[in-house]
Amino acid sequence: MGAKKLDLLGEVCPFSLLKTRQELEKIKPGEKLTVETDFNQSVRNILKWCDNQGYGLDIAEKGSGVWQITITKK
């Protein structure tokens, strides 16, 4: 189960979610995408959008100010 990775460190809104959405279009339902971001607002943005789409979410704070979100496409 190799999850695809997307590095969004240093990226601000709206780019973080736009890129996430772009990557999510490329993968098939059931596959996973791991997103790494260091912007609090992007985390909210991504979580809200994915939740609206009904995607599975798993969030972990990796270090100080770095969040890792694992999205399962449905």
């Binding site: 601000v12 809104c13 736009l18 279009e25 912007f39 607002q41 959008w49 609206n52």
Partner: protein, 217 residues
């Protein structure tokens, strides 16, 4: 998953806040009060995740109206409080408080330029300051652009106001009357708040993916 704070930077921040606050208090008491208010503004902005540039950008790009709604709540309460204070000042024969400026074509041009700028830069004026506090080096560049643009804008201000229509500052209740003016503002703000729920159902600029999701629901 509880994580501890970063003790050293936190301690530095608190020491700086207190010592600089005392320094300001010695200069002028009002400044130390404003210092505390500024700190609260920053704290609230960060913790609640309000981003003024997301008001119209997120509805367009992601069909997400939550920030727009939060800002409308801000506007309604802020309007109610300011209006009460304006009535109080008027009854007591003081000047009407608030922000009043000339308006006209330059206001519209300014609004458009500002709207484009904040979406491209990824933060409005408050957001730029906020992101500097978060540690974004990039936003120091945005801030210098902001300062440069502000200076240019002030220099060109007369060019815009003399060539295009510009009207004197106006307090809306002067035209409509106090009660009608207040009710009008409240109605528009309330209407916009309602509109966010209606528009949420019609994704316009969305990806196909979002559209199918909206149709399913």
């Amino acid at each position: 998953m509880k994580r501890s704070s970063q003790p050293l930077p936190t301690a530095l921040a608190i020491i700086f806040i207190i010592s600089y606050g005392i320094n300001l208090y010695v200069q002028q008491q009002l400044l130390s009060a404003l210092w505390l208010i500024g700190i609260s503004l920053g704290y609230i902005l960060y913790r609640s995740g309000i981003c003024f540039s997301a008001i119209c950008r997120d509805p367009f790009l992601f069909n997400d109206f939550s920030t727009a709604r939060a800002v409308l709540v801000l506007l309604i309460i802020s309007f109610a409080g300011t209006f009460m204070f304006q009535i109080y000042s008027n009854v007591n024969g003081m000047d009407i408080p608030g922000k009043f400026h000339s308006w006209g074509v330059h206001t519209a041009i300014g609004g458009i330029l500002f709207g484009i700028g904040m979406v491209l830069a990824g933060g409005c004026a408050a957001g730029t300051l906020q992101r500097i506090g978060e540690g974004f080096i990039l936003f120091l560049i945005v801030l210098s652009g902001l300062v440069l643009g502000s200076t240019l804008g002030a220099a060109h201000f007369s060019w815009w106001t003399t060539r295009f229509a510009s009207f004197k500052p106006l307090f809306l209740p002067e035209i409509f009357g106090w009660a009608a003016g207040g009710i009008l503002t409240l109605t528009i703000l309330g209407g916009l708040f309602y509109l966010t729920f209606v528009l949420e159902k019609y994704p316009s600029l969305q990806n196909k993916e979002d559209q199918t999701w909206a149709q399913k629901n």
